[in-house]
């Protein structure tokens, strides 16, 4: 079920989708003028996902974008010039020309983790961010995105499974745009709904119409709140379509025409604009104002980017290692008493301990053989006896099972059937 938003929120979502598209339109122009060094990817038609999901985060939360999540970077507060300069490999870009596209981050202020090209690798990393945030008492949520194709990687599984066992405050947005380069989703994953993968991890999932920004936001907001409340990770499948080729070089002739025209008629910006107009939240004057604001902003951002030089060659040699405090002062921000995680308070008996197991007893201990530490016969109680003391189950504080509460099935209702191929 879609949430009721304030007028400002409805308009924000519109503005950021327009900004997302305008930034990418500008980059297409730069690309055609040969000003972009590498490839250029597009999120045309998928803006509602980047914007709607990231808009559900708080300032302190962490995100890691994929290549088609320029919109999420903008919502998080990255200025368009940084995105232009990254693509143009400029000296003033966040990575000073060392990497391109959305491959940059900001640990200190915006809380953005840089992606790498290898699909899926962000998932365990963001699980670690979520776990560290919880450990430090920061009450943050970590969010990242993955494609339908990227969900076939091993790290997707390792990461989500680990997140589930840890009940990490982590939200994974699976953008099912029906294509992974030239491979249709059906040949990536033999599932109608990729959200079903969540079942394997015992976690909650939502399916949402990825072209309906309010629906996307509503699902994301619910997921973020639940993750923050300690209910564990949540997978959101957003159904959408990749309107352009894999990147600028790809005419995507493998995409059936009807599929394309079906989705072109469901442009997320047009849809939201219709909604805003019918609800009298936006009129022609208001729209004009936004467009002028975008034009002025992007012209100056683009100018700044174009005027930035390429980095000097010698820069290539620098920065492989952190040289110590003068390079980076690494400080954790504690928002809980440190005493809780240091002895004597931390030195509780292990929450998992079951009688007759662990603490080295009967498991080799100091006499364990030099390799395989567990090849000695156990002394002590037989396993069956040890089990009965505890119903045979370790009493894990980080219980694996997802919360039984099913309150937020709601978002599922908004999933348009038609949104599937």
């Amino acid at each position: 079920m879609k949430k009721e938003l304030t007028r400002q929120q409805y308009l924000d979502l519109y503005y950021y989708m327009r900004l997302n598209r305008a930034v990418e339109d500008t980059m297409v122009k730069l690309f055609r003028q040969n000003k972009i060094v590498g490839g250029l990817y597009s999120s045309l038609g998928q803006e509602a996902i980047s914007v709607g999901t990231s808009y559900a985060l708080e300032k302190k939360d962490w995100l890691a974008p994929m290549i088609r999540n320029i919109g999420a970077l903008l919502v998080k507060g990255v200025p368009p010039r940084d995105i232009f300069m990254q693509h143009m490999a400029k000296y003033d870009s966040p990575t000073k020309g060392k990497d391109g596209t959305s491959h940059f981050g900001d640990l200190d202020n915006l809380h953005i983790v840089s992606p790498i090209s290898m699909l899926g690798d962000l998932i365990p990393v963001m699980v670690g961010v979520a776990m560290a945030g919880r450990y430090l008492g920061q009450k943050i949520v970590a969010m990242t995105w993955i494609g339908d194709g990227g969900s076939s990687t091993g790290v997707f599984h390792e990461g989500l499974n680990f997140a589930a066992t840890q009940k990490a405050p982590f939200v994974l947005v699976l953008e099912n745009n029906l294509w992974a380069y030239s491979t249709p989703v059906g040949r990536q994953v033999p599932l109608e709904n990729l959200a079903d993968r969540a079942k394997a991890y015992g976690i909650e999932s939502y399916i949402v119409d990825g072209n309906d920004v309010v629906a996307v936001y509503s699902a994301a907001k619910e997921a973020v709140e639940r993750a923050r409340a300690g209910e564990g990770p949540i997978l959101i499948e957003a159904k959408t379509f990749r309107r352009l080729g894999h990147a600028q070089h790809d005419p995507a002739e493998y995409v059936p025409k009807e599929m394309r025209s079906y989705w072109e008629a469901r442009d997320p910006i047009t849809l939201h604009e219709k909604f805003l107009t019918s609800e009298k939240l936006l009129d022609a004057g208001g729209k004009k104002e936004i467009e002028q604001k975008l034009d002025t902003l992007l012209a100056s951002e683009r100018e700044f980017a174009e005027n930035s030089p390429l980095p000097p060659g010698e820069l290539a040699e620098t920065g492989v290692y952190c040289t110590g405090d003068e390079c980076h002062k690494i400080r954790a921000k504690w928002e809980r008493p440190i005493a809780e995680v240091t002895p004597p308070k931390s030195s509780v008996a292990a929450v998992w301990t079951i009688p007759g197991f662990g603490s080295g007893k009967g498991s080799g201990g100091a006499n364990a053989p030099i390799h395989f530490g567990d090849t000695q016969t156990a002394v002590g109680k037989p396993a069956s006896e040890a089990k009965s003391a505890n119903d045979g189950k370790p009493v894990a504080k980080v219980a694996v099972k997802a919360a039984a509460k099913k309150t937020a099935k709601t978002a599922r209702a908004t999933a348009s059937r038609k949104a599937r191929r």
Partner: protein, 335 residues
């Protein structure tokens, strides 16, 4: 000539290599609440080799994390933790499994500081090496995959003193550090460690034995083999200078060059296979920077270019030993 173990060991106690590692983790976790440990069976069980025994009981489940069998997730999550200022230690149950996380280490962890100014202070450690009949999947020496990766530091110690001091230094380092623990040494080697806090600097080799006829470079378990061979050489009047590299990345070129400029001959012993082993890199450094000083070829005594075989007879044939080092060194000394 006297051997030195690099330690200013007074008032210390004799501990095993394994105990030294355990102490290092215990003391670092005690000292700094941002230090956490994650890995397979590190908590309740205390680690497959018992290197983390007692840590869960002392530091609690939030800091000693039993993970699923997911090496990429362990490394990836540790990297994410490090971004928030934690200093995670990841245990690979056997170092052989580190290659399951190869991509996370070489592409994610290693490149972050260079590309986007994101340091990843974390340690990846685990039992490595052969000689214990672990077979082809429990005996690996994968150090050179990582020595070839800018952004990482790679440590492979040979004594309890160094193991403890280097592991502590690794935890405090702002960079990702790979720390290999030769499992042959775990309970076979004992050595003195001081009672107080100390670290051993990363990237600084140690002269274990002074000599003038040739330089023998080694590290980890082979360090002891090299010393054994040098005792035998001494009986024949050949004085080998034996150097423990113990940090392979960054390599202490200065100590190597100083020694070779004195002895004019160099032999490298490593348990890693020959092709692409550190000896090749050392040969290149000597050719570049000590060409005029060399009075003989660089000699390599290494394992064979094969997987590590299982049968004791095969493994024995596969590995370098003191005899092989002795005869190669003797020949080089005569050259």
């Amino acid at each position: 000539m006297a051997r030195t173990n690099g330690a200013a060991a007074t008032n210390g106690t004799q501990v095993t290599f394994l105990e030294a590692i355990k102490q290092a983790m215990f003391e670092e976790m005690e000292r700094d609440p941002t230090v956490v440990l994650l890995g397979e069976d590190v908590g309740v069980y205390g680690g497959a080799f018992k290197t983390s025994e007692g840590l869960l009981e002392r530091f609690g489940w939030e800091r000693v994390i039993d993970t699923p069998i997911s090496e990429s997730a362990i490394i990836g999550a540790a990297c994410g933790m490090s971004y928030l200022g934690l200093r995670p230690i990841c245990e690979m149950q056997f170092i052989d499994f580190i290659v399951c996380a190869f991509n996370q280490i070489t592409n994610f962890v290693a490149k972050g500081h260079y590309l986007w100014n994101a340091p990843a202070p974390m340690v990846i450690r685990g039992p490595s090496g052969g000689g214990v009949h672990g077979g082809p999947f429990h005996s690996a020496n994968p150090e050179m995959y990582f020595v070839h990766t800018p952004g990482l530091k790679v440590i492979y110690p040979s004594t309890p003193y160094d193991a403890k001091g280097l592991l502590k230094a690794a935890v405090r380092d702002n960079n990702p550090v790979l720390f290999f623990e030769h499992k042959f040494l775990y309970r076979r080697i004992k050595g003195e460690v001081p009672s107080g806090d100390y670290t051993v600097p990363i990237g600084k080799a140690v002269v274990r034995r002074e000599g003038r006829h040739l330089t023998i470079l080694s590290y980890a378990a082979m360090m002891h083999t090299a010393l054994e061979a040098s005792d035998a050489l001494a009986k024949e009047g050949i004085e080998a200078e034996v150097i423990d590299l113990h940090t392979l990345l960054p390599l202490d070129e200065e100590t190597i060059l100083n020694s070779v400029k004195k002895t004019n001959k160099c032999l490298v012993v490593h348990e890693d296979t020959k092709t692409g082993g550190i000896a090749g890199e050392i040969a290149a450094i000597l050719f570049e920077k000590a060409f005029q000083d060399l009075d003989g070829p660089l000699v390599r005594v290494t394992s064979l270019d094969t997987p590590v075989p299982y049968a004791p007879t095969l493994e024995e044939y596969f590995l370098p030993n003191a005899k092989k080092v002795f005869s190669a060194a003797k020949e080089l000394a005569r050259y």
